[in-house]
Amino acid sequence: MTFFGLHFQDIVFYTLAIILLFAALSVITTRNPVYAALYLVLAFFTAAGIWLLLEAEFLAIALVLVYVGAVMVLFLFVVMMLDINLDKLREGFWNALPIALPIGGLMAVEMVMIVGVRNFGADKVLEPAAHPADYSNTAELGRVLYTDYLLAFELASVVLLVAIVAAIALTLRDRKESKFIDPAMQVSVKKSDRIRILKMDAVVEENAETLSNVAENAKEGK
């Protein structure tokens, strides 16, 4: 099925690609850091859409789940709480430009050399065959991860684990002024810890008479 000579997939792809490029450019050009973070969220969403076109639904949803649902939430959290002075950030722009421009150019050239048309052109990479309807990208990915690439996968997870432990070890400090409450102590509190019951002899009040006078006066409304 074609619309004006374009396949439906092409239309979806170009729409998503335009939005993706716009969002990615906005991330670095917009002045407000909160807007930048939100544009990055949009970029992730459209990238997930392009992955869906590749029949990689697990990766697409995982991208939304991990990057949009967790990483960017924490990002926004921090960006919103920091009062970033943009003018100060832009101060060094012209000073850094002579060094930054060649480095940026070099990176661009490297990327074109590797992912350019010469290696990934339409004649080099064949169009992937469409899979049958019962093909499950999720199951396929799981099978490959836990058979062919088991060692690499497990190594990556160990690296991540080390990073988690290191991050906690670096930031965890025992703060002396913290009013930390131990819930186990709270729960195990007994009546005897808090209340002291005294035994006292019954004593007749000396001013019992005046008290009854007060009560009577109150009754009469004085």
């Binding site: 639904e57 697990f58 949803i61 789940l65 649902g69 967790a70 939430v73 926004l76 959290f77 919103m80």
Partner: protein, 342 residues
């Protein structure tokens, strides 16, 4: 039909598919809106009777038209835009809150083969959608440019991100038992009477999932994001009229969603409790209704948690419990008793 097909010519299959899908979406969303409306009434009635009051009884019999009256009132109210707010994001907030709450329903199966999108990665699709819902709250709180709203949104964001982990791990247990991420296949894995339902082998995960669900939806006793006594109404303090109502629609849509998920994954979905009784959509309704009643019951019973206690419960109690139980299930599946865990 015939003239429609002629009108669109070669585009007819695509147009017909789009139209048919739209009809199916309306068939899901319209009853859902009704359920949301009457859940608010049920909440007021149930909590009323638990507190020895009557609850709303003026509009219609037993107050049955109360949700309609509330809806009309909110529709006609003015939406006030605070002067110092960020207008675009202020109006985007409610939209971002309600869109994922409804989008998640796309993969929910209501009966055998009665599902809008039979997605193989349905379970993580739902996890992704519920985790995206937090943006509505964060953006609303930030765009309001108000201290109370901002505090509320920060609390909510931290809470949702924390409980998502426990919730995700609880779902890992389910997919280990079912060997699938497809919600329909998860239900069909529980065929054969209530002793085959996953809430028995996964009992700790069921409890963790349901309590995390209460926390994810910012409901009492975990409703510090609203915390009337401390921060007025939290993230939606600056909202009025329909913009405010949209946040409430999203909250109740999420409550019904997590209850439906719990019914599908742990209580056998549309399957009947005894094998000789017929399976039906009505069973799903009964189970979801019971779980929704629990939500209301919690609200009428428990005092609000303190914020640090919420964090402790999520990180230091629920996550360790889920990890231990996942390892336990994994171990048991290698033993002769593995059939109890499938």
């Amino acid at each position: 039909m015939e003239w429609l097909a002629n009108l669109f010519g070669s585009y007819w299959p695509a147009v017909a598919l789009t139209g048919w899908t739209l009809i199916k979406i309306v068939a899901i969303v319209a009853p859902l809106m009704g359920a949301i409306a009457y859940l608010t009434l049920a909440e007021r009635k149930v909590i009323g009777y638990m507190q020895v009051r009557i609850g709303p009884n003026r509009v219609g019999y037993f107050g049955l038209l109360q949700p309609l009256a509330d809806g009309i009132k909110l529709l006609f109210k003015e939406i006030v835009l605070p002067t110092a707010s960020n207008k675009t994001l202020f109006l985007l907030g409610p939209v971002l809150a309600i869109a994922p709450a409804f989008a998640a329903w796309a993969v929910i199966p209501f009966d055998m083969n009665m599902v809008l999108a039979d997605l193989d990665a349905g379970l993580i699709y739902i996890l992704a959608m519920t985790s995206v819902a937090v943006y509505g709250v964060i953006i609303a709180g930030w765009a309001s440019n108000s201290k109370y709203a901002f505090l509320g949104s920060l609390r909510s964001a931290a809470q949702i991100v924390s409980y998502e982990i426990a919730m995700g791990f609880a779902l890992v247990g389910v997919l280990m038992c079912a060997n699938s991420l497809n919600l329909g296949k998860i239900v069909m894995g529980q065929v054969g009477g209530f002793w085959h339902w996953y809430f028995l082998p996964l009992f700790p995960l069921f409890i963790v999932y349901f309590i995390s669900a209460v926390a994810e939806t910012n409901r009492a006793p975990f409703d510090v994001a609203e915390g009337e006594s401390e921060i007025v109404a939290g993230f939606h303090v600056e909202y009025s009229g329909m913009a405010f109502a949209v946040f409430f629609l999203a909250e109740y849509a999420n409550i019904i969603l997590v209850s439906t998920l719990a019914a599908l994954m742990f209580l056998g979905g549309w399957l009947s409790p005894l094998p000789f009784i017929q399976d039906s959509f009505l069973w799903l309704l009964v189970k979801v209704g019971f779980l929704l009643f629990l939500f209301l019951w919690f609200r009428a019973t428990f005092p609000r948690y303190r914020y640090d206690q919420i964090m402790r419960l999520g990180w230091k109690v629920f996550i360790p419990i889920t990890i231990v139980w996942i390892v336990f299930i994994g171990g048991m599946m290698q033993t002769p008793w593995a059939r109890f865990f499938h």
